[in-house]
Subunit: 213 residues, 2 copies
């Protein structure tokens, strides 16, 4: 099977191109594992890099915020770059310059568009389902005033590139006999014990008890 190629010149990975992938299944995995993305955009003050919560529905990445957000206004007027990075480990080689990191990253280019009122509700409920599956039906849903003050934007996942590194260090042949431990120090995201709010007398629901796995 042929691998997918870069969908545009600006998504063509040039540095360490053997780590690049344009496969949408990998892209979806990287997006779905993220709580936040970083968005680069420009204005008269220069470039900005702002972290914000994100979630995926089909071939779209969604974000939301206050109607007054400078970023949300700008993102509807110009292209931007959305990046997600997961660091999976430190790679300890036998020479200093062959040290590396294992990681999974995705960069998405394009322009965000606002979703309409009906779609906004569907999207925000999908966001809750991404954060805490099963919770939406238990909380007070957003009211008209809350929705009216909120903008939901989406960007197509079409113009994107992933870059990943996995596995052991890659040393030069002449360095392999250097007497130093070599390998990988793994990093991962972990879930801590749920902290109940002071004023909450209720037992933890299944999705809270399952949080730590």
């Amino acid at each position: 099977m042929n691998k997918p190629s870069a969908p545009s010149p600006r998504t063509q990975v040039k540095r360490v191109a053997e780590y690049a992938s344009y496969d949408s299944a990998l892209l979806h995995q990287i997006v779905d594992a993220a709580w936040v993305c970083h968005i680069a955009f420009g204005d008269t003050n220069g470039s900005h890099c702002i972290p914000t919560a994100c979630w995926r529905d089909g071939d779209w990445l969604y974000i939301h915020g206050s109607n007054g957000s400078r970023m949300l206004k700008r993102l509807q007027e110009q292209d931007c770059c959305v990046t997600i990075t997961h660091v999976d480990g430190l790679v300890l080689a036998r020479s200093a310059f062959n040290h590396s990191m294992n990681y999974r990253s995705a960069m998405i280019y394009g322009r965000f568009e606002a979703v309409d009122e009906a779609h906004k509700r569907v999207a925000m409920e999908a966001f809750m389902e991404h954060l805490v599956p099963g919770r939406q039906a238990q909380v007070r849903a957003g009211n008209d005033k809350e929705y009216a003050a909120t903008t939901v934007l989406r960007i197509a996942l079409h113009e994107a590139a992933c870059k990943t590194r996995t596995g052991p260090p890659k040393d030069e042949g002449e360095d392999l006999d250097i007497p130093v431990w070599a390998g990988v120090l793994p990093l991962a995201q972990s879930r801590g014990a749920p902290i109940v709010d002071d004023g909450c007398p209720l037992p933890a629901p299944d999705y809270v008890r399952a949080w730590q796995g």
Copy 2:
């Protein structure tokens, strides 16, 4: 004691300004806890958001890469924005729209500058010390050819803003009696069991055995 104020107009946090801080001790903590940052910069293809390894020495943040890197060239010609974000937990409120995340983030504005040859070696050894304290003396150090192919840049930490959220959900008074569990689901970075390289017969040194704490 007066809190430090924003060092420039573009670091003045406007949205949820009560979460902002311009304290350098907090900034240093957020930078030191990071393995990577995201850098926003622009070129004729628009805005880019690129993740890269970073480390701190004093009041400077350092990055490095190949001399051929498009980003490293551009970053010496124009201002950029460097952002670091740690997600610390999901905040489950009683109403959908009061859900939030706990996080620590830092944004740094300014222009990178290249460090000279002598400083490059000091900086790269500080990078190794950040990654794996104690390892530099055991590996093959970078040689002249490796250093000659590598650019090290630094940016002052002076023009920066931090934004953090901690603690429990903040519900409206009229939502407090909604019968749904409320609290925080913590997230943290964890360290996995070291994976020795296939070809390595050596016992793990102290810093590898201590990795998991």
